[in-house]
Symmetry: C2
Amino acid sequence: MGVAATLPLAKPIPASDAAPVPDALSALADMLRDDLEAANRAIVARMDSPVALIPQLAAHIVAAGGKRLRPLLTLGAARLCGYGQSGGPAATRPLRHVNLAACVEFIHTATLLHDDVVDESLLRRGLASANAIFGNKASVLVGDFLFARAFQMMVEDGSLRVLEILSHAAATIAEGEVLQLVIQNDLGTGEAQYLDVIKGKTAALFVAACQVGAVVADRPEAEERGLAEYGMNLGIAFQLVDDALDYAADQATLGKTVGDDFREGKITLPVLHAFHAGDAEEQAFWRRTVGTLDQADADLGLAMRLMERHGAIAATLARAADFAAAAKRALAVFPATPMRAAMLAVADYTVSRAR
Amino acid sequence: MGVAATLPLAKPIPASDAAPVPDALSALADMLRDDLEAANRAIVARMDSPVALIPQLAAHIVAAGGKRLRPLLTLGAARLCGYGQSGGPAATRPLRHVNLAACVEFIHTATLLHDDVVDESLLRRGLASANAIFGNKASVLVGDFLFARAFQMMVEDGSLRVLEILSHAAATIAEGEVLQLVIQNDLGTGEAQYLDVIKGKTAALFVAACQVGAVVADRPEAEERGLAEYGMNLGIAFQLVDDALDYAADQATLGKTVGDDFREGKITLPVLHAFHAGDAEEQAFWRRTVGTLDQADADLGLAMRLMERHGAIAATLARAADFAAAAKRALAVFPATPMRAAMLAVADYTVSRAR
């Protein structure tokens, strides 16, 4: 019954409670290589359609070299819960976690495609994004297809509990995104409301991705709760870092553009921090640029200097570190295994990618 | 066990095989009044969210006085299959068909909201629609919420078969919509491909709406198949008539604008008919206006006159009548009851609304 020889769980990586592993996500992906490759195959196979534009456009996003963070959470959570450890020949190994990891990636891709949809006001400001290649409408419709396809795959999986978790996540994501739209440009937004936004738009899918791993392994509720808490805190930390990186000058290496949030007038924690710490003149600057989108070329640079002056980025990253630590504590319910260490390291990675 | 006294099934309406009932949809709604009111209550209750913009925007579409055709199909199909005929006090009467009718309406509303999303090219042509009030992005995200909420309600219903039917329909709708986008402006489109589009974007939800009615009633497969066939043919007929009405001059009374399809360069059967029947000069006209969207003010009027000349509208409506007749034949599997007569009358209504 020994499974270590056939499943890629044996390679130990250092426990990560102290120093973060430089690229913990690659390490987790290495441990889960067979599962991840199977998930990638499922993703490519199931995004197919007789309507050729669908796989073409989906591939543009899905195959764009994403980190596969969310499907890795599903795969890792399932393995952490001991799913599939009955071993046996590869052909008969259970693959529910692989198919659900693909579902999670499809839902994530659908939200990315729908997030690409821009409004007329932003189009006028020259902010067309990936959807510029295919158009708003194609992005929306292919997103709809991937979303529907994810539900078809969950139905094939056959667990109403999984369907409940992921349909709840999908509704919560949409609520978070709408709330983000509502508070856009509103510097009166409170920190609690900002946290509601990122819990919805980002953390909800992290929660669900982890939870379904526990569900397929049929584990006690305490483990599902622990993984849900891990996902929630990890997701919040992840988005806080993302929001900080949008104002971090030296991110060219990360392949991210700086200033997107600023140009859209998105209300994020760094902005709220700098706004509240600023004097009257600075607050007038934020009201003009983020509040009314009246921006000149030099404004992003000034925004970043104001953030530096008030430690807005450092404060945001400190909050992220708190949430990452909470994520790690939530895994205490599991015994110390290489897989747990790898999941802990992912929490550190989430924060360390900003340094 | 007599149920006629407590359920609104007793009011007979004329059998409709010969002359269409003037407003068959109202007649069906009358027969299903209690069910429809319950479905409307479920729709309002379940589109609620702490994010106030969601019910606000959803109400703009859902409460805009739609005909509720699709939920009526679910309710009617369930009753046709004898669902809920065990009677008893109102509080204990089964309401699965009511909740699923609300799901069907949510999915329909989500597709309407996503259909409102326009591309930059159309925005430049001044073609912003209902979404102009709230913006592209809000339309997309609220549509996503309603779609997710529909799946949450299906999970509460608990039938994997229902989830299978409606997730398949959702994927098929998206495929139909993407195909429509692909063939836009392409006068080389064949009639078969056009039929694929409307089977997907319109008929798929008619099919599913009818099918789930049979599923909740737990009826033999022949009845589910009959209802699916009814829905498919009814949906095709419905869309053919819609496509004809877009070029029918006297539609002010229907509250529809004329010429939307023309201005978008949508490929529909009336266009294909007029294009293929036209001489070289006429074909050049269609290539310029629908093919490249190079349109002047007088072009819609000329398009309509060309359709008149070649009987394009009449030919489209004749095709619709054929499909409506096929829809009616598909209900032969059911005994002749007032409910069947009402469903037959809906098929006639679908075509007669164009006259």
